[in-house]
């Protein structure tokens, strides 16, 4: 596209990090790159809170009678783990951190369309997080992250309202982020950057944003009605006046199933970028991968009933939801096949981001295929509410979304900070995480198949070996997450200077210096070629 940017030492050049100093210059910034870093800090903090709850859960389950806490406390632990990890880590993770940083850079714009709304979005997240942290500190909440009525509205003796309010508020943060991305992608692309020249990360973020703006308001109103019902002791889910608690589940899952795709779709976008760069090839079937993101976004709204096969939904509805759930596998499989086809005859290098990407493909495939077990009506009756489900969605959310997030952080870290991290440690951590993850969650498939129910503080003694394996895996996984935290922070000060394009990657974000200047580009670039225009290996230009 344009010639390589001249290398200048980061310290002597004005960029977004040193353009101004002081706490105010961060808290009142409207620069999408700085806001991305605010998000990075806050979601990392929440990740370790959710992680602490997970650690306590796994410690507790080392013994069949429960090693650590009272059953009531155990209920609060898994609720906190779910609420924090889903609403305060996974949903914002890739969109709010990487999306915020990269969308304007990738489309060749100076910022998002609405920079002040972008900052507002972060503040809403902080306010929501404060409510949830307050709820945790003043007694916790024990409804499960799903807040099912009538337990949540009538019977629970815990901080349901504060937690619901936190989730309600953070929902608007998610809506505004999605709105900003949609408008930016529609209206602010650089000259020549047509829709089918966009990086697949942008397609994925676009599809995600559609889900965010269509799904999140429904969760917002549902949670709002739940809070009112708890406050007033009467409401539309109240069976005493003819209200239907199942209606709550319909409304809840109308958002919360698409929310799974809010978590995984951006990850798929990251993986497309990583696979293309480290295979030095254009993504195989680019258009199909782009369309499949949109197909997932559409289908995601038509499958919520598969969470309710055994909760009193009609059999015919169950049949239709089962068929539709199977259909989501098609666009997901298109992506997996196209990534592997991209690897074919690529000139592959195994840098740390690529290790995460390859791990993602395997783990996501396992998570996706076990999802088909659960989408089958008869099999689901046996598996629903067991550890099989827990294992399935952790393969998607941790094996998929978190692996992609870490891969993305490692890939764009040199762009964000201008520094390289120690490659050996990074590859080591990626392997540790892969091993620890599988040791944690694979035994849970077996546990669930054997019939161990989820959300119980105790279990029959015959399940102890597998539970100890899972807990041992969790401790390895925990160490795997701490290592990048250490070397990434270390690299900010001591890492070697990265230069504008350390991976030799394609894309507008690599054509501006690292870290980028506040206005992103000296001049808005003109795009003349398609995405991932790596020289074909048969040209003899690989190496």
């Amino acid at each position: 596209m344009s010639t390589a940017v001249m290398e200048t030492p980061a310290a002597s050049r004005v960029h977004y990090l040193n353009a101004n100093y002081g706490i105010k210059s961060w808290l009142f910034t409207t620069d999408h790159k700085r806001i991305a870093l605010l998000w990075l800090g806050s979601i990392t903090f929440m990740f370790f809170i959710g992680g602490a709850a997970a650690t306590l859960i796994r410690l507790h389950l080392i013994e069949p009678t429960g090693a650590l806490v009272q059953p009531a406390t155990y209920n609060k632990l898994f609720t906190i783990h779910g609420v924090v990890m889903i609403f305060f880590f996974l949903i914002p993770s890739i969109p709010a951190v990487l999306g915020n940083f990269l969308v304007p850079l990738m489309v060749g714009a100076r910022d998002l369309a609405f920079p002040r709304i972008n900052l507002l979005s972060w503040y809403l997240y902080i306010i929501g997080a404060i409510f949830v942290l307050y709820a945790i500190l003043t007694g916790g909440v024990d409804t499960g992250w799903t807040f099912y009525t009538p337990y949540s509205s009538t019977y629970a003796h815990s901080q349901v309202i504060a937690t619901a309010l936190g989730v309600f508020i953070v929902g608007f943060s998610s809506i505004l982020t999605g709105l900003n991305f949609i408008v930016t992608i529609h209206k602010m692309r650089a000259p020549g950057l047509t829709w089918f020249r966009l990086p697949l990360f942008i397609w994925a973020i676009y599809a995600t944003s559609i889900i965010q703006i269509l799904g999140t308001p429904v969760l917002a109103i549902t949670i709002f009605l739940l809070g009112l019902e708890r406050l007033l002791h009467v409401g539309i889910f109240d069976p005493a006046i003819g209200g239907d608690p199942i209606l709550f589940q319909h409304l809840f899952w109308f958002y919360s199933h698409p929310a799974v795709y809010i978590m995984i779709l951006p990850g798929m976008g990251v993986i497309s970028e990583l696979i293309a760069c480290f295979s030095r090839k254009r993504v195989f079937g680019y258009a199909m991968v782009a369309y499949s993101s949109m197909a997932i976004a559409v289908l995601s709204f038509l499958v919520w009933g598969h969470h309710m096969f055994v909760t009193g939904q009609s059999v015919y509805a169950g049949l239709i939801f089962s068929v539709l759930s199977f259909m989501v596998a098609i666009p997901s499989a298109i992506k997996v096949f196209n990534w592997t086809a991209t690897l074919y005859k690529g000139s592959i290098s195994y840098d740390a981001p690529m290790l995460y990407a390859l791990g993602f493909i395997g783990l996501f495939t396992m998570g996706g295929l076990t999802g088909l077990f659960l989408a089958s009506l008869a099999v689901d009756v046996h598996l629903t509410g067991t550890y099989f489900i827990v294992a399935h969605f952790h393969y998607i959310m941790v094996g998929g979304a978190v692996m992609a997030y870490l891969g993305g952080i490692h890939f764009w870290w040199p762009k964000i900070t201008g520094r390289l991290y120690p490659d050996g440690w990074a590859r080591f951590a990626a392997l540790i995480i892969f091993v620890g993850f599988n040791l944690t969650f694979f035994p849970q498939f077996v546990l669930g198949y054997l019939g161990m129910p989820r959300r119980y503080a105790v279990y029959p003694a015959e399940f102890q070996v597998l539970n100890v394996m899972s807990s041992a895996g969790a401790s390895i996984l925990g160490i795997g997450y701490l290592i990048p935290l250490i070397y990434l922070i270390w690299s900010i000060r001591y890492g070697p200077v990265a230069g504008p394009n350390p991976w030799g990657a394609k894309g507008l974000e690599w054509e501006t210096p690292s870290p980028p200047p506040t206005e992103n580009f000296e001049e808005i670039p003109v795009v003349t070629e398609e995405a991932y225009a790596y020289a074909e290996p048969e040209d003899g230009s690989h190496g």
Binding site: P115, T184, L214, I221, L228, V234, I241, G242
Partner: protein, 230 residues
């Protein structure tokens, strides 16, 4: 701050109201409009959860819903419908005045819009206090007279009033927010911040105002007119 100084360097070549992240005024205008339309889509889904639930319960408990509807004051509801449609007209005229650069007309029509909005909220408040007086507020003061609900099952009448207050309350909250937006717009218009080149905030606020009106156009028949009285 860097953003501000970058904005001010652009200000030399661009009209007031221009934001530095855009390439030109046209792009900014289109982005603002699209942003508001996308926001209104989220609003449709936000109200949509309530409308969907209403539809389900109405089909399950029609007698109770009809009895509940008969306890509402159709005359006040109809008056409010007319008031809101009138405010949409003044809002549309305000946008036109902004497009053609007529500052006084713009301020006048914005003020008229606000007056009509206030009339709507006043009437709504009057309706709410009547319902309170009759003990028709679920959860807070629920003690309706026997003959009032015509022996329809009391539970589903209460369910109807849950919807009545949640839906009209959420709508009234949107009216209040719209009132705040219009106050800001009136002050800005008075100061002459808008011109035929830059009136996007007026247009976008108008979109919001019309949307809130349209929500009421759906609420009025669903809540007031299902009693089969006419």
């Amino acid at each position: 701050m860097a953003e501000l100084s970058a904005g001010s360097t652009h200000a030399a070549v661009h009209p007031p109201g221009f934001h530095h992240q855009f390439e030109d005024m046209e792009q900014q205008h289109e982005a603002g409009n699209l942003g508001m339309w996308v926001f209104l889509v989220t609003e449709i889904l936000f109200f949509g959860g309530l409308f969907a639930s209403y539809t389900i319960y109405r089909s399950l408990y029609l007698p109770g819903f009809e009895a509940g509807s008969r306890l509402l004051d159709v005359k006040l509801g109809a008056t409010n419908t007319a008031v809101l449609i009138g405010s949409s007209l003044t809002m549309a005229l305000a946008v036109h005045a902004a497009q053609t650069g007529k500052r006084k007309a713009l301020v006048l029509f914005l003020l008229l819009t606000m007056v009509l909005g206030a009339v709507f909220l006043g009437i709504k408040f009057d309706e709410y206090s009547t319902k309170w007086h009759h003990g028709l507020v679920p959860g807070l003061k629920w003690a309706p007279d026997e003959e009032m609900h015509n022996n329809a099952p009391l539970g589903s009448v209460e369910l109807f009033f849950c919807f009545y207050f949640f839906m009209t309350g959420l709508h009234a909250l949107h009216m209040l927010i719209g009132f705040g937006i219009m106050t800001v717009m009136t002050v800005k218009s008075w100061r002459g911040e808008f011109s035929p080149e830059y009136y996007a905030p007026i247009e976008v606020s108008g979109l919001y105002w019309h949307f809130v009106d349209i929500v009421w156009i759906f609420l009025f028949p669903l809540l007031y007119l299902i009693g089969g009285r006419y």
